[in-house]
Symmetry: C2
Subunit: 485 residues, 2 copies
């Protein structure tokens, strides 16, 4: 099919205003937050209903054109990038909160609803949507589901998978199914679980029942300062091992503190080598005692100062510094590469020490701002993209961080997905049997490999590459012929 024909057909399905095909406009869709990998789609559509999405998908299947689902494009792994062209389906116009059902503790909304706006909408009812990625003022709940996103408060409340009760899903065949409608007790296979974190490779969510989380009655925020990151990491490990469950435990290291200190007028001392942001929430009674226990552990691990954020304004200031720390990195270097790995909490101090060594080895500054309570590292490798050598060293340093994390029993992605950025690392974590099981699952949903193709699975690498994995899955499936055939 010619591109112009495709555009005409798409217009018939979503209306003329729902199709973007102008080259300048398309350029804004050529990457997500990860600018290392880019790719321009042939066309972008902005449907307004599941029926329209289904129509687009059926057309794409008939025409063998790839589909790339896209939320706000705030991912950092290239997951929403059309690497080999095709149709980008943007959920931007599916942005309505459809039903707030407080009595059953759930809310029904479309995938393009912005995470932050959902929580603002729920606030007057006394509820929130708990997962809160740093990008929450832009990212969408559909993107959160696709990437199984985390956020600072996921330490206490769990990542996105714990908050999705059921979704309406357009399958690669164009069929529209519901995977559940809010009961955690749904029988049959857990299709909600399959879709969550599948990065747009097995379907497109067109509506979701999400879990409501009660806003806490009260909360406390303090910043504990340490001479070095080891003291902060050890404190986090001991807080959790002690059975305490703060709402958030976030660490910033010396470089990160330097970046945000001026910008947010935090007035932190030069001597601070690490800051541990502690938030405790719950019922008012007992909250100060919990906080006191956590602070005691910090002091035992060498905290030099503990600063409470006493007013709402102070709390917002501290959180803004943490959530916008990535942006503040622009003060330190023209480009950064965000590594995103997870290690068991007990391995945090050692892993952070190794990250320091990697920084020295590759002669690039690395700042650290991370979800310590979850063991979710975010080493921010600072470099100048225009310098070829720095570019190369940044990528090698990131690979070293992956290797160290896996050696410590960790995984290669915390919350930003695999996308295209990390697919070559999948074989570090999974063997061929593991990947073949995933490829078989993928094939059962998307046999034409048209949904976000070229993502997640390693490419062109023999054993880990999708076609080979599928052959491995299929060779087993072919046995079936000898039984029922």
């Amino acid at each position: 099919m010619q591109r112009t024909e495709l555009i005409d057909e798409l217009r018939r399905i979503v209306g003329p205003r729902g199709v973007v095909h102008n080259r300048d406009a398309l350029m804004t869709y050529d990457a997500d937050g990860c600018v290392m990998d880019t790719g321009e789609p042939h066309v972008v559509v902005l449907p307004t209903s599941a029926e329209q999405v289904s129509g687009v998908v059926r057309l794409a299947a008939r025409s063998r054109v790839p589909i790339v689902p896209r939320g706000a494009g705030t991912g950092l792994s290239g997951g929403a990038t059309a690497m080999s062209g095709g149709i980008v389906i943007s959920t931007a116009r599916m942005d309505k909160v459809l039903q707030i059902d407080t009595k059953n503790g759930r809310v029904l909304c479309e995938p393009g609803v912005i995470n932050w706006e959902l929580s603002q909408t729920l606030k007057p009812y006394g509820y929130q949507f708990a997962p809160d990625p740093s990008s929450q003022k832009a990212c969408t709940v559909g993107g959160n589901i696709a990437n199984n996103s985390g956020g600072p408060h996921c330490l206490k409340y769990g990542i996105t998978a714990s908050h999705v009760l059921g979704v309406q899903l357009v399958l690669p065949s164009g069929e529209v199914i519901w995977t559940g409608e809010g009961s955690p007790h749904a029988p049959g296979y857990d299709l909600t679980g399959v879709i969550t974190g599948s990065e747009g490779t097995i379907g497109l969510v067109t509506a979701a029942w999400l879990k409501l989380t009660r806003l806490p009655e009260a909360l406390r925020v303090v910043l504990a300062l340490f001479p070095d990151i080891a003291g902060a990491s050890n404190s986090v490990s001991q807080v959790i091992a002690g059975g305490f469950l703060p709402a958030a435990l976030e660490i910033m290291d010396r470089l990160a503190i330097r970046a945000v200190n001026d910008m947010y007028q935090l007035g932190l001392p030069e001597s601070a080598g690490a800051a541990l942001l502690i938030e405790c929430d719950g019922v008012e009674d007992g909250l100060d005692e919990l906080l006191e226990d956590v602070i005691t552990i910090c002091r035992r691990n060498g905290a030099i100062e503990v600063r409470p954020a006493r007013t709402l304004a102070e709390q917002n200031q501290v959180w803004a510094a943490r959530k916008n720390a990535f942006g503040a990195m622009g003060r330190l270097a023209p480009t950064y590469y965000l590594a995103d790995t997870v290690v068991p909490r007990t391995r945090l101090p050692y892993t952070m020490e190794m990250v320091g060594k990697i920084s020295l080895e590759y002669n690039l500054p690395i700042a650290n701002v991370f979800h310590a309570g979850d063991g979710n590292l975010h080493p921010i490798i600072l470099f100048d993209r225009r310098d070829r050598s720095q570019n190369q060293r940044a990528l090698e340093a990131a690979t070293s961080v992956m290797h160290v994390s896996i050696e410590q029993g960790g995984v290669i992605s915390g919350e930003h997905g695999i996308g295209v950025e990390k697919q070559q690392y999948m074989t570090l974590l999974f063997n061929t049997d593991d990947l073949a099981a995933m490829a078989g699952l993928h094939q059962s949903f998307d046999p034409l490999d048209l949904f976000n193709p070229g993502k997640i699975f390693p490419r062109g690498r023999g054993c880990g590459e999708l076609a080979a994995l599928r052959r491995s899955a299929v060779s087993w499936a072919e046995l079936k012929g000898s039984v029922t055939g």
Copy 2:
């Protein structure tokens, strides 16, 4: 392959003591708690390692003999029953807790570990495994994973799916994979989610990393008595809508109270038409206030009496009455049929009223003991199995309960699985597209349909039957040939 040959081969894999083939011994494996559907296996094996399980599975695949995984056989839906013979793989000898890792909040154990014993083992460390089915003194964690089991405390702590961090799994191909090792942030598809609740149809779990839940600092148990079930149901609905989260909210109706009253010397008054068991847990501070708020709601809904269980002995007595209520039904009738459905909490009062009408319509007493906080009904239909008419009416009454639950936006199984007992009801809840998506997923793992065959999917019914569903999934998959040739 002859049965004797098969037995010889199995002995070589699991050792002579790991094979049960004596006819008398096999009879004890002919059913699970659901005695309505029985089926005797050809042979039972009791492996002690993933390698042995893999060996058995490979042999079964070569010989085209079905495999039926089995925990303690306490399910009530026939899920562990070998309906068409084959090899039952019992996990009874894989009963070790392998590693308690409190620092990372997880425990590694084999599938045959008994739920209750796991929590007893964790107690000295200050932890528990939170899902607590009524059968917890017998049921295994492998069975809990297969059925995604619930229990009274799942209201606050979530059902089994919320507590499985990753599993070692023997696939129908005999391959052994790990789906995760404890990090909630595992990248790739959520195979842990796929296996949880899949009732042994896509693999056999040989080890699992489970989440540790801290034992609460303190708890309170009270029994609120109401003249009728409506008052109790409305209280539950209002407690949750008010944002309160007790650890458990369990209702017993008049008939159930009658059954347990004498047995456990509860001394409840004749006037009590419903008892609401409330447990609140957490830190000591604020707990009495939470309880008081809940009790106020009960009184507003007509509670005639509120009895606190002041001592540990009194608490254990109340819980024993609740957990053994099914057993106590023997005092009322020779047989009972346990229905197990879920409705949105707000639909509880109406649904309970309808259950009362169904009891009158079919002229059979129905007792109710259920997880009210979750909206998980357990109408216990009392009848005499030897009476053909009662038998028939019991089944029809159960079907009516299903229909009413689905009409109210509910589902057909809370925690006992679909098994063989409810497969014919799957089409009430799912349409052909939904079921075809599940069948496709199943096929990608178990193309020979050898793992617990004849379960979950409707049988011999045209549109909902597995072979037809697979054809529907396959016809789409065959398109692939035209692309990749």
